[in-house]
């Protein structure tokens, strides 16, 4: 009941004209970011963090979550019409979405995308409202040992699942964790790896690094290839069909649950939510042969899964300060910039804020429904704007975005260096998401390891013998061992 009262107060606070304007405007911008291949939800949130830094926390987070939800939703447009997913989260929906477009049912595919996205987000919002307080309460029992493994597990899982090569993903995660060690250490305020350079004393700021990794690197990747002309197919009616919802209600519920669970896993993200939901839908479907050839059920599962993963990824960010995905990591960093401290104590110190986030996610969901119904066709003109026009303008925004938070030229240098390094690493198959998770979680991993060792006087046993720490350690070790060919061969022989 107390939770409902908080939620009611949060919703009432979002009904003002400015709040509605912010929600609709930010969702629209998010959809455009999602539609444009090369611009990701993570970059959108990072750029808007710099723009909203002087706003009150609730309004700033309202804008950021609306950009987040809008971008993940908007990316399917490009996938359906051009067979190029607008964001990584839309790759699974692209398979059947584009197949439907080739059959002259692009509008229907977009209607399914809207239905799946809205229902997935609503399912996720319900889980966000109920699971966040429960998880935060459970996490009150966590000590440094548990937080160390939880944060390390986030980086390892992100490394395993966000690229094609876990070994490269883990290396990028370690690089991110190392990047977070630069500057004053969190316990004794001792300078590490600053080489006497004053600008490095404050460390590598997250937003410039993010803008470099997801913005500048992506701009270089897009500009490296010649532009392909967008050939947009004719679009039939985009109105969602009730019949699709009724026919596939089991798939929707299953995909929502899978999306939320995958979202909660530290560092995994919306793309895995979509793929896991798609795979499960195919496994249980009576129309399995249609998957990959324009399956309504497959499209519905993928879109429900990736949008349900958004609130799922926010749950551990709020309750444990361990984000479930790269965009959620930026969102968490934005909360910290605005004076909110995510983690188990959030429900004790600022319970209203947790319910503000629930209400905001609900508003963002309703906003994508509005745009899904009335703005699909007008928004498609964005696809006709050449990338050679968009990318230079985006680079100016990236440069100013990196600079804006602290007004330091040094942050522009950070953006450039991180962008160039990530560009070359990405070209060799090193994924960027674990690097970002590493930067966000580096402080927790460092402080938790040292605090744990101080508490145990150098004894490693509590890192493995405490029940939750032991379970997290086992999962972390299995995550790595499962990728070792010799171990896999051994398991294959035994089974």
């Amino acid at each position: 009941m107390e939770g409902l009262a908080f939620l009611g107060k949060s919703l009432a606070g979002l009904l003002g004209p400015w709040q509605i304007f912010y929600a609709l405007g930010a969702t629209l911008v998010g959809i455009v970011i999602g539609i444009l291949p090369g611009l990701s939800a993570t970059l959108g949130i990072a750029l808007f963090t710099t723009l909203t830094v002087r706003m009150p926390p609730t309004e700033a987070i309202l804008i950021l979550i609306c950009v987040y939800v809008g971008a993940i939703y908007g990316g399917s447009r490009t996938g359906i019409l051009l067979n190029i997913p607008g964001t990584a989260a839309n790759a699974a929906a692209t398979i059947d979405g584009h197949a439907l477009a080739m059959k002259g049912q692009a509008g229907r595919a977009m209607g399914i995308s809207t239905t799946g996205s809205v229902l997935g987000s609503l399912f996720g919002v319900a889980c966000l409202a109920t699971l966040t307080p429960a998880l935060a309460e459970a996490a009150l029992k966590f000590q440094a040992f548990e937080f160390f493994w939880l944060a390390l597990l986030g980086v390892l899982m992100s490394g395993s699942l966000t690229g094609n090569d876990p070994l490269k993903g883990w290396l990028m995660g370690f690089l991110g964790l190392f990047t977070a060690q630069i500057g004053l250490d969190g316990i004794h305020a001792h300078e590490r790896f600053t080489f006497g350079w004053n600008d490095l004393t404050g460390g590598i700021a997250l937003i410039p690094a993010l803008v470099g990794a997801f913005g500048f690197a992506e701009i270089l990747i897009v500009l490296a290839e010649p532009a392909r002309k967008a050939a947009i197919n004719a679009v039939d009616t985009i109105l969602p069909r009730i019949g699709d919802v009724l026919k596939y209600w089991k798939t929707i519920l299953r995909s929502g649950a899978i999306g939320v669970c995958v979202g909660i896993l530290p560092g995994v993200g919306e793309d895995m939510g979509a793929w896991a939901s798609y795979a499960a839908a195919k496994r249980f479907s009576k129309e399995r042969e249609q998957f990959g050839h324009g399956s309504i059920e497959g499209m519905m599962a993928a879109e429900t899964g990736d949008n349900a993963a958004i609130p799922g990824a926010i749950i551990p960010a709020l309750a444990l300060a361990v984000p479930g995905s790269a965009p959620a990591a930026v969102l968490m960093a934005a909360m910290i910039i605005h004076g909110v401290q995510p983690g188990p104590m959030l429900m004790v110190n600022q319970p209203q804020f947790a319910y503000d986030v629930v209400a905001i996610t609900l508003v963002a969901t309703l906003s994508i429904l509005v745009f899904g119904l009335i703005m699909v066709k007008p928004l498609l003109w964005v696809l006709r704007v050449p990338r050679s026009i968009i990318m230079p303008v985006v680079f100016v925004l990236c440069t100013l975005g990196a600079y804006a938070i602290s007004a330091r030229i040094f942050d522009i240098w950070v953006m450039l260096v991180v962008g160039v390094v990530c560009f070359f690493l990405r070209r060799q198959g090193f994924p960027v998401a674990p690097f970002v998770l590493g930067i966000v979680l580096g402080d927790i991993v460092d402080k938790s390891l040292r605090r744990g060792l101080v508490l145990s006087d150098g004894d490693l046993a509590p890192f493995f013998s405490r029940p939750i720490a032991g379970a997290l350690a086992a999962v972390a070790l299995l995550t790595v061992l499962a990728q070792v060919p010799a171990v896999r061969a051994l398991f294959a022989r035994k089974t």
Binding site: T50, L51, V53, R54, L167, K168, W170, L171, F174, L175, L177, F178, Q181, D185, I187, H188, H190, R192, F193, F216, I219, L220, L223, A224, E225, P226, A227, K229, P386, R387, S388, I389, M391, P392, V393, F395, V396, L397, T399, L400, Y403, A404, A407, I409, I412, W413, M415, L416, V420, F423, Q428, G429, V445, D446, L449, R450, R451, L453, V454, G458
Partner: protein
């Protein structure tokens, strides 16, 4: 191409990890402050350096076991990347923050970048160079002024 490059990247990771490990080992352990030795600032970076060495070695060993695929060098792509790097780094590191007005440097960068890449991507429908330059200049000036005003007047950011 990747497997061949992995050998060099593995060496890079091992060298970088070793450098981090060495720097962490040599880092002040603050013994003069009588801190708990398990809270020494170099502990975590040292662990990360060691992990980079181990995983970098695993990457190298895996790359050695696999045949090197023929290199797929794409000269056109490399030229485009070089052009993008020169324009972007020249603008962000060379022009911004050196006293020139933001709108002017940004308009110049956007104009050059749009013109160069639209010209590289030109097809039968692309207008002639003069019209392309005029439209690129209009977009560049409009975008630079709009971004500058947005950040300076709405978001109260002091422009570089």
């Amino acid at each position: 191409m990747r497997r061949g490059a992995d050998r060099y990247f593995a060496v890079g990771w091992i060298v970088f990890g070793a450098a981090v490990l060495a720097a962490s080992w040599r880092m002040d352990r603050l013994e003069n402050l009588h801190i708990n030795p398990w809270s020494a600032p170099g502990l975590m970076p040292g662990v990360l350096g060691a992990l980079m060495i181990v995983f970098g070695a695993a990457l190298g060993l895996r790359a050695l076991r696999q045949p090197i695929a023929p290199s797929e060098t794409n000269a056109a792509s490399a030229a485009r990347v070089t052009l993008a790097l020169v324009l972007c780094v020249g603008y962000a590191a060379g022009l911004l923050g050196h006293g020139l007005p933001f709108w002017l440097t940004s308009a110049a960068f956007i104009f050059l970048a749009i013109l160069a890449f639209r010209w590289l991507d030109r097809d039968a429908e692309t207008p002639g160079l003069a019209r392309l330059a005029a439209s690129s200049a209009a977009i560049a000036l409009g975008a630079a002024l709009a971004i500058g005003l947005l950040f300076e007047r709405v978001f109260l950011v002091r422009l570089p």
